[in-house]
Symmetry: C2
Subunit: 394 residues, 2 copies
């Protein structure tokens, strides 16, 4: 018999997948240029040329057995060192390579982080709106997910709701800033208040509460945004990172887990990751990609297009009468839908060939996500349709 | 608190790791050329030049967003197709791309296979001698591992022992041929007898028993060896493969799971894998490596050195009085140790700077593993030491 657990998951509807599928089908009917598909969070700008140059130079200059051979379970030491030094330089931290574990993207970093600092049956707190994959990640680690409803006024934290969910079974709290789907960035006051609350509860409960900070959008920050480095404000922080967005390498599955040196049992957490890998078939990030990001550690793709797309869309949305919290980063906007039922609203948008994802998918009904990782010209041509959509609700 | 489960695993001794660590330390003392380290199963021959050529040509000829972008969860369709066609061509099978799931190496293929066709609490049967990582893989999927003791006469299958372990809770049986650590290959009669037994038990128990065939050494076969394709002899077979050994790419974590089209719910098993990925942080094999192995699908490294090393070592071992089943493939030999305690024997070998792994690590005491994925000259220079070691036991 096939696994009941995973077969049951198959029958869950994957809304984003369905919308993207519709987009492909509609593109065949009317041409891709006429479908305004804002459903998927895939980088729209190329990896910088230095990435491919680094790959070819690694292949030609280093022995094949070294490049393609088994790497150490925790990652290649020089790459872990490069990651640590980059974080130290940029965020005034004091990571050593012993605090860095190289992973197959942020998904793998989260899979290890969740398993490392919890016991099965513990509670994990996440905040709406949230990336929908957090739930299966958490379930896979045997955790119960508790959701703090969204602070829809600013997409910061509803502390009253959070306090009511905190209890001694909570051993981990997950934040994602800059946030998918809202684009919001948790401010320094928000994170300081969160840190103070968690410090207090750690003492009260007599056990650590680890803060797992998922930061794949860290490098896509808009002008003037205050984006503190989470780990610098709370000792027990595990930072999960992916080079998917910063270097436009989502298919290459490369990222890391960085454990704050000030965290309880910091280096032990990294060591434990090697054991977790043994049970989930991870066996290390790919050596070639580790070497590549090590060589390109402080570089990014040309991310400016996301700011330009955001500026255009955000201004237009306000002008057309939409209500939206201004994003501080990412390539997402998360306006209120113009009717309470975001599914119905997105269906109406679809009739204008505008493809959005209803906020319900991210635990935040009454909103919709615009993923503007698309060419600028597409954004420009989409504006009249957004206006037309708003006019349907006048 | 850190995870009890994974922290406990940290305290288990990793014998191979310790031996390899000793080897590195000893190399610093007396020079790497004087240490005969046969402890690790890392390919010793370069990837074929075509691999690096393929990578560079993919990078220069295809759009960056395509090469480095998110791939489909089950793998890139053209690559799944290439894998299916290669298997069909070589083994007269009839796989379609819908039967292939691209993975991060064999470890990931096994992690998915174990979870796809079992329920937590089921029993998995493995055969000694076995690759030691099967145990954590199996535990990670929530399975109870039952071990069939080794048939030390030929490293085929002790059917009497197997029959005594079969019961209705067994839903999966794992074979690994060519085998690590013995190098033995399961013959056609052995596999046919296994298939008949499992067919009979499936009927008796009223549920399928899936045969999971771990075949990373399939391409390292010695002259004259009968190495049937497991899936061609048993319908409910899931084949786990890695390009680590055939293309010398262990660090690039690329492989696949192939589900026999004749298996019950074959395509459903592949679909279920995408759900499993969501819970263990897999999210697909890297796109660049998928494209690369797709382009090099029927190629291999120059594997002839393993045959030459085997021939030399095997003949010398017999001549010096060791007893050993002749391997049909891989880069391992698994002779009997010259005293019952293989640990003591390996310690004695270590005094001659010969580094072997005691068979106990593979569930088969009284034997030791020689991993001869080393340069030929090293094998040649090791022979007098093997002789000296045998003389200590005269």
């Amino acid at each position: 018999m096939l696994s009941k657990r995973y077969t049951d998951m198959l029958s869950e509807k994957d809304i984003i997948f369905e919308i993207a599928g519709y987009g492909r089908q509609r593109s065949q009917e009317i041409g891709a240029g006429n479908v305004f598909d804002f459903s998927l969070g895939n980088p729209s700008v190329d990896a910088p040329a230095s990435v491919n140059q680094a790959i070819c130079s690694i292949l030609t200059q280093r022995p094949a057995l070294e490049v393609h051979g088994y790497g150490p379970g925790l990652g290649i030491m020089a790459v872990r060192q490069a990651v640590a030094q980059s974080l130290n330089r940029r965020f005034s931290m004091n990571y050593g390579p012993e605090h860095i574990f190289m992973t197959s993207g942020a998904a793998s970093a989260l899979a290890h982080a969740f398993r490392a600092v919890t016991q099965p049956g513990d509670e994990l707190i996440i905040f709406a709106p949230y990336f929908s994959e957090y739930k299966p990640y958490s379930a896979g680690a045997g955790l119960t997910t508790r959701i703090v409803p969204a602070d829809v006024s600013a997409f910061q934290i509803d502390f009253e709701a959070l306090e009511s969910l905190l209890n001694p079974k909570v051993t981990a709290v997950l934040v994602n800033s800059p946030n998918n789907p809202s684009g919001a960035v948790l401010s320094t006051p928000t994170l300081k208040r969160l840190a103070a609350l968690l410090e207090e509860r750690q003492k009260a409960y007599g056990h650590p509460i680890y803060l797992i900070s998922d930061e794949p959008y860290r490098e896509i920050l808009f002008q003037g945004t205050d984006c503190p480095y989470t780990a610098s404000l709370y000792a027990n922080t595990l930072t999960c990172y992916s080079f998917s967005k910063s270097l436009s390498l989502p298919g290459e599955r490369i990222g890391y887990l960085a454990v704050n040196p000030a965290a309880e049992e910091a280096t032990r957490i990294v060591e434990v990751c090697s054991q977790i890998s043994r049970t989930i078939g991870h066996n290390g990030a790919t050596t070639l990609m580790q070497l590549t990001v090590g060589a390109c550690i402080d570089q990014t793709s040309d991310l400016a297009v996301y700011q330009r797309n955001k500026d255009r869309l955000y201004q237009a949305l306000l002008e057309y009468g939409y209500s939206c919290v201004e994003p501080g980063g990412t390539f997402y906007l998360f306006p209120r839908s113009l009717e309470p039922d975001a599914y119905a609203f997105c269906k109406k948008a679809q009739q204008l060939d505008l493809l959005f994802v209803p906020g319900d998918v991210f635990g935040c009904p009454g909103h919709f996500r615009i993923a503007y990782c698309v060419p600028e010209e597409k954004v420009i041509r989409a504006l009249p349709r957004l206006k037309e959509l708003a006019e349907l609700y006048r």
